[in-house]
Symmetry: C2
């Protein structure tokens, strides 16, 4: 680990060079570095917490003078019960994972003595930009080393002391292992984020770990691919046949389990035909949790009729902007999906095609307002569910389950690098696998491409699939 | 297909909306559209060739006045023997491929009645920017529809007539199928590339099909991910133990099979110890093909000594810039990799560690000068080959085989969208698979994330892997 005071370019170049050495390290050597990191962080807990206390003292005064939010303060605090231990066991969790490198997922005999393989390999150099949470450094450094990637770490100003101390401890620990010194670079210099984001020559992937503003800034200021998501505008759609109890459970959890999370639901779409049968129960349950609803006229009228006047304050008028807003709070936008009626044909067929047309409207709303994070349909119809899940373009498409399940731990992936709403490479919760790419290896015996072809005397490719 | 005269934004928005409909079309419906395209192109061959003849007439005068290169002229010409038939059979090749959509590659029981699946799905909207080759439109439109992606096509000015006519024929054919009308959008308006590249709200992936300058321009002017490669600076390294005959075959084919291709070799790295044993034979074979060599002093001296004075004109001095140059011509840069000697220890061990150090130097050269496309080592040592293939960060890393094998057809992938040097998503020759991403589906029965956890009365996740 280099605690570099040098230029961002020097740090990136050094990381890029060291990536070659890291890429050939055996699995055991990478795991040994994780063990060393874990042990050093355990041994240096006091020094790290003391550094964190200095950051906390500064942050507390900033918070008292209104310059820093309470939530940043909370994220910064490493002394909260269980947090330090979580950081340590996070490293061991990563160590336990299978090797993501060297996995062959395609093998083919192009011709006798000419074999093609596709093998997973590290991406190269990661740039990780942190905001407040200092423990994420340990987690990400572990993921980077495990996947054979070099990493450049750039911390936020609130966590300067914690960040430097943790990085120094990790650096000393890793220095005693086979991992190349320059593989993890810490950039302390301030105001260099723009310079780092311009180093696409050396840096292969940027992972911003922080709030929406950071992610959006990073996406707008670099040509390097960014793994992350700026927005989480998740919707729940209650279809015409939604079960009332299920709707209540799913909506309340999606909204209230942790409203500040990116996978919390912000918009509730309600089929017109369940405005008076299902919505009132959902609304009552949400009100009991302190949620206020911003409704279109139709939904508002239905709720006003069904609910006691006491809840009037919690039923508000929505504006168009509410359907584009990630509230991250106990507020939910409600929109009616019109029941589309068909006047021709027999009643059953027209009802079903009408519901299909309403489903299209719900999907269209999500397409134009959603953030491609996670969206849910509550329905008893598997046909409607399948159509919804195929049509909605989001990293997570759920049927009768809370949007809050969108999480690497809940998916069983172990630790995660982040949740991506990209549509290239990794999407949804991204674990170790998202830090790899592949290369094609060919092993031959001097074959030339010119030997092969359709003409006389030319060899033909065999293209035999081989077991992997 | 819309032959839109409207704004790029309107075209992109329409494509984006239609992508939803396309994403739910069954496999057979997508294949039917390919059949319709094929049949219509066959039926309208005369009209298309007439349009192409008009483009060719304009291009020929431009070429005669020196405004257009001969190679563009050649690429533009659809009447060359076999070319039209290749376009038609290319569509049938794509039709024969398995469905890339709806493939489940991960399935897990999170809990009873709560299942997680990862399913391949279309990326969404592709922007494809063509230069001269009009037949690529048919190929790419087939790949887009097969993979359920909407596509916006923007042709180059040289091929305007061919492009419009082909697009119109394809459009009319697709209109008679279940594929949504707006799924393939043709943008005819000129000078709108910058506008299109700014539409990251609607467009998910850009595929530039043209020369280096186009690819570089696109990469520099968009935040949308780009699938492609600007450079192909491939190297062949002759290690200390390289077999002479194999070296001759591999180097000559890598350089001469098709010098203008991106997978042709540009740099020859030669271990010092084979400068007089292997290099002269390689050089003689290259000279016979008309290749001139730009050599460093050591390699030049070795060649001057070994070869007759008649070849002197073909042995030139290299500059540093030659090692960064994609010649795309019968020119090759030659660089000596010093034999590193160790003075201590027994002779055999020191020789082997010296060769290892030389290998590091060759790898370092490729790392700092290569373009991560395809690089090859010629060696009889499997240890050296494995180290080279693991360390060199390129889409293709070859052992004793020509760099010219880097090609989708040769890999057995069938038709290809392009060759990517990206390190995110697809790399190397990219086929249908590269036009897909995945989504996570959860099917539940009203489960909430709040039910699960470590506390008393909380449910635990099962995370049982299920067969896919």
């Amino acid at each position: 680990m280099s605690l570099t005071e040098s230029t961002p370019e020097a740090a990136a170049r050094a990381a890029s060079l060291s990536a070659r050495g890291l890429a050939v390290l055996p699995f055991s050597a990478r795991n040994d570095a994780l063990t060393a990191m874990h042990d050093a962080l355990m041994a240096n807990k006091e020094a790290i917490l003391a550094a964190n206390a200095r950051d906390m003292a500064r942050a507390t005064s900033a918070s008292e003078s209104g310059q820093l939010s309470q939530s940043v303060l909370k994220r910064l605090d490493l002394s909260r019960p269980g947090k330090y231990q979580d950081m340590l066991s996070g490293i061991l969790d990563v160590r336990r994972l299978d090797d993501p490198i060297g996995k062959v997922d395609l093998r083919s005999r192009l011709d006798d003595g000419l074999e093609l393989e596709r093998v997973s390999c590290p991406i190269g150099v990661l740039l990780i930009i942190f905001e407040a949470r200092p423990e994420v450094i340990a987690n990400i450094a572990a993921l980077a080393i495990k996947s054979g990637n070099a990493a450049i770490l750039k911390g936020g100003k609130e966590s300067t002391d914690s960040f430097e101390t943790i990085a120094r401890v990790i650096g000393a620990a890793v220095d005693g292992t086979q991992v190349p010194n320059a593989a993890i670079q810490l950039v302390k210099t301030r105001d260099v984020i723009d310079q780092l984001l311009g180093l696409d020559r050396y840096i292969d992937l940027v992972i911003p770990r922080g709030g929406n503003e950071l992610v959006r800034y990073v996406k707008d200021h670099t040509k390097i691919p960014v793994l992350g998501h700026a927005d989480g505008l998740c919707s729940v759609y209650l279809h015409a046949d939604a079960d009332k109890d299920m709707a209540v459970k799913v909506v309340v959890d999606s909204k209230c389990d942790y409203p500040a999370a990116c996978n919390a639901a912000e918009t509730l779409l309600v089929h017109e035909s369940v405005l008076t049968t299902v919505l009132p129960a959902v609304a009552r349950a949400l009100f009991a949790k302190g949620v206020s609803l911003r409704c279109d006229d139709t939904a508002k009228a239905a709720l006003k009729k069904a609910l006691p006047p006491t809840s009037a304050a919690l039923v508000q008028d929505s504006t168009e902007e509410d359907y584009n807003t990630e509230f991250l709070d106990l507020i939910m936008a409600v929109k009616t999906v019109p029941a589309v009626t068909h006047t021709n044909g027999d009643e059953a067929a027209s009802k079903s095609s009408g519901e299909d047309a309403s489903l299209d409207l719900a999907i269209a709303h999500i397409s134009s307002h959603g953030s491609k994070h996670t969206d849910c349909i509550v329905t008893t119809s598997s046909e409607a569910a399948e159509k919804f899940m195929s049509s909605v373009d989001a990293a997570g498409v759920y049927w009768n389950a809370s949007t809050r399940f969108a999480d690497g731990m809940r998916y069983g992936f172990g630790t995660e690098v982040g949740i991506s709403t990209n549509k290239i490479h990794s999407r949804g919760p991204v674990g170790l696998e998202g830090l790899t790419i592949y290369k094609y290896k060919i092993k031959g015996h001097g074959q030339t491409a010119g030997e092969y072809g359709d003409g006389a005397g030319k060899r033909k490719y065999k293209h035999e699939k081989l077991a992997v």
